[in-house]
Amino acid sequence: MLKYRGNIRDQWVDFKYWGLNWLAILGLVATNPYRVVVSLFKYPWIYDLLKTNNLVKRYNEGRSGTALLLSNLNVHRVVQGVVRSLKNIVHGTKDTVLANCMVPTEIYQAMDLKYFMTELPAALLPMEDQHTCDKYMDLIENNGLPGDTCSYPRITAGVFAAGEIPRDVKVLISNNLPCEAGMASYGYYEDNLNVPAYRLDIPYNFKDEDALDLFVEDMRGMIAFLEKHTGHRMDWDRLREILTRYNRMNELELERWEMAASGTPPLANENIWITHFWNYNIDPGNSESSAWYEETHKIIRKAYERKEPALKDLRFRAVLWNPPTFAYAHFWNWLERCWGIACLNDMESFGHFEDMFIDTSTNGTMLKGLARKWCNATMARHTRGPMENYLPDLWHMYEKFNADFILVAGHIGCRSSSAMTGVMKEQAQKKGIPFCIFDYELMDSRVCSHQGIRDQISNFMFNVMKAKPLDESLLVIDDDSEW
């Protein structure tokens, strides 16, 4: 049930998006009720996506005004995108491209291909319900996968092992992102799917021009492969439209960051990272993403001009490094309400996007721009390649957003970032930057519970920042068995 928010305007926003989310979901059912029912048996994880409005509730506890509206818009945008993805499997998968989450999806769009991201269940389910993926992780561990590998590909492999990822697809496309575990997991899928596969190889030193050219060649190979196996042709004009939209989004994204860096940041926390994660990485360049960016930008701009901060009681400005807590999706809300912390940017979002505008003048420049964009995708630009990719951006982000401290989400399954811990600590100490590394497991809250995460942050706030909580009753919450 929707709780009364204290004023009619907020209540209306809550109700409106609650209804719109349900409408979007029912819209999927309406396309073909029979196929949807069959899909619910084939892919039972779809049930868990019905918990979305509860997730919105958890995100928005105590929020009002622009922050509440943005959060609702944010989740609704994701719901629309997920529904579109689900259509690509619900209505049959024989023409669907099964793809890794970090392959340039702009190419599928330009080729008018149906695609489904293998990692979609893993990316969404732990946010909906922290324990819903436990069974998948247990299953794949029982099949021999070490329990210490990153839970993102581990859940995906578990869903695959359970037979809940479509197998009768047209082709499989993957690459070596976001990490080695993700890359290796595709060997397992490829081995068990009897379909043609193409693997993109993102070079190690992707800032080198030769390496970038190599990746462009590889992308050309992927396009030729897709044309051969799907019968669809590459539509370069459509690609130009998509990339033009992306360029506009990029422009808006940079403006949003400028506003977030101000004294009264109108957006913070998941309103920054989920936006970027979804619209840049999962579902980039399409007209929905673009329209959403334009719409929310106006709202953010107005709040900025009114000097309305994202948090009613903003006490601390922070930036978050390493991947955010998927299995504790509403962690941000606790930061806000318990300590008045606003995370103004994070590793998933931050990068040198001022250099990422794509020249759409020729097919070659478009591919080169796309190559640069995807080499710099989330988890690729920082956790891969030379060490210099990792730390300078963190210090730059800290300064740019005038942060009081850095929160480092120490995901124990992330080899690449955990191997930087020592140098990061030393450099932060040398620079006199307060920082808190909290250990956790990205998508497995059995390794570190929600309370375990909260305790680590509270200890830091008490002992290093010498702060007092805004609301002491939130220091310890019994939510181990909640969604």
Binding site: A181, D201, D210, T421
Partner: protein, 392 residues
């Protein structure tokens, strides 16, 4: 298993106790340059031009990795941590340069710390190069890697004042091939019904050949091969096994397996010979030849598209070396081999091959547990053999 020890083995055994072994010392005293490397994908002939010679990084006697764990965290494999710990202790101070391959996250991050922590500070002319090694086989990738190998060679040439031209590399490839031809003779003895060399002995020779100048090993190796070829075959083993996995540079592990009666006849692991002893093409552009050879023969799960080929290779080698079973050893925290096992182990078992999966640390620890598991595995192979005989 009782086998009279070959006196020629003592020489090789003496090279394994420290990265700076007596042959390395001798070469250094002649003014030669030792170049450290971390992976099969750093081509040995590249580092063998002029007076240079490759030293594959090892951490013999690795123990606590306290400092390295501070830098790399406890979630990085213990090989990478042991190497960094050794480096911080100055164990590789004799090196004149390092060529690393971006082979896996653990090794890459470990290598990056050499520069970051300025481990080679004050050593004049020291050079490092990170090879951007492709993960798939395609023509642009071969050309890209060849270009990268040239860059590494140029750095070496500037640092060591040597010739890195095509002819110098071709000569290094010829010498490498000649050395490997000799090693192959030794390796082939393992294929016989009664192998004339133990797995421990062969493992020792392989590790020595990757950590000491090959030209200085040539004489002792010839003597060893001659002695082994005259030797009686081993008859009192209980099962022939193949060891498959990642970094495995301590022959003490192999010895433990053989103490249980499992004769190690095939070695598909880093520091092993499968792959490693194939002839490198001597025609055409030598840099391209190296790139093509190493990418094509690499059997590491880092190569994205070769899973089915790797499964085929394992079955082929198991047949060639008449292995009765496979010990699939993976290093803790290794994602690549973790996923490889999920795909590969069931397939091998389905083909009728007994397989045991062992997760281990780099250092020789957990001996009792390991012994028990190997013992049980050998019994399983014997049990299967007996059941087959009774059924047949």
């Amino acid at each position: 298993m009782v086998m009279k020890k070959l006196k020629e083995m003592e020489f090789f055994e003496g090279l394994l106790d420290s990265p700076r072994n007596p042959l390395v010392d001798e070469a250094l005293s002649q003014g030669r340059t030792a170049v450290g490397c971390n992976c099969y994908l750093v081509p040995e002939p590249l580092l063998s031009m002029g007076g240079a010679f490759p030293v594959r990084l090892r951490a013999p006697g690795a123990g606590s990795t306290e400092l390295a764990t501070h830098y790399l965290s406890p979630f990085i494999c213990s090989y990478a941590r042991s190497i960094l710990e050794n480096a911080l202790d100055g164990a590789y101070d004799f090196l004149g340069g390092l060529v690393f391959a971006s082979s896996c996250t653990h090794i890459t991050r470990c290598g990056q710390h050499f520069d970051q922590l300025d481990i080679h500070a004050g050593r004049e002319g020291f050079f490092t190069h990170f090879l951007d090694t492709p993960r798939k086989l395609y023509e642009p990738g071969f050309a890209f890697m060849a270009k990268d190998l040239r860059r590494a060679a140029q750095k070496m040439a500037q640092s060591c004042g040597m010739d890195a031209g095509d002819e110098a590399l071709s000569e290094a490839i010829r010498r490498h091939n000649a050395f490997n031809a000799l090693l192959r003779r030794l390796s082939d003895l393992r294929k016989e019904e009664h192998p004339r060399i133990t797995g421990t002995e062969f493992h020792t020779v392989m590790v020595a050949s990757k950590t000491a100048p090959k030209d200085m090993l040539l004489g002792p190796l010839k003597k060893l091969v001659a002695a082994a070829e005259k030797r009686e075959g081993i008859k009192d083993f209980r099962a022939r096994v193949m060891v498959v996995g990642s970094i495995f540079d301590n022959p003490r592990f192999t010895e433990l397996i053989e103490e249980q009666g499992g004769l190690v006849v095939a070695d598909r692991y880093c520091f092993g010979s499968l792959p490693g002893l194939e002839e490198i093409g001597e025609e055409g552009d030598p840099y391209e030849s190296l790139a093509r050879h190493y990418l094509t023969t690499c059997e590491c799960p880092r190569m994205m598209e070769k899973l089915k080929d790797r499964e085929g290779s394992l079955k082929r080698w198991a047949g060639e070396f008449r292995a009765d079973g496979i010990i699939f050893e993976t290093m803790k925290f290794c994602d690549l081999w973790g996923y490889e096992a999920v795909s590969g182990v069931p397939k091998l078992r389905d083909s009728g091959m007994p397989v045991v999966r062992i997760e281990r640390e780099y250092a020789f620890v957990g001996e009792g547990q390991l012994r028990t598991r190997v013992q049980a595995f050998i019994e399983l192979i014997e049990g299967k053999r007996l059941a087959k005989a009774l059924a047949g």
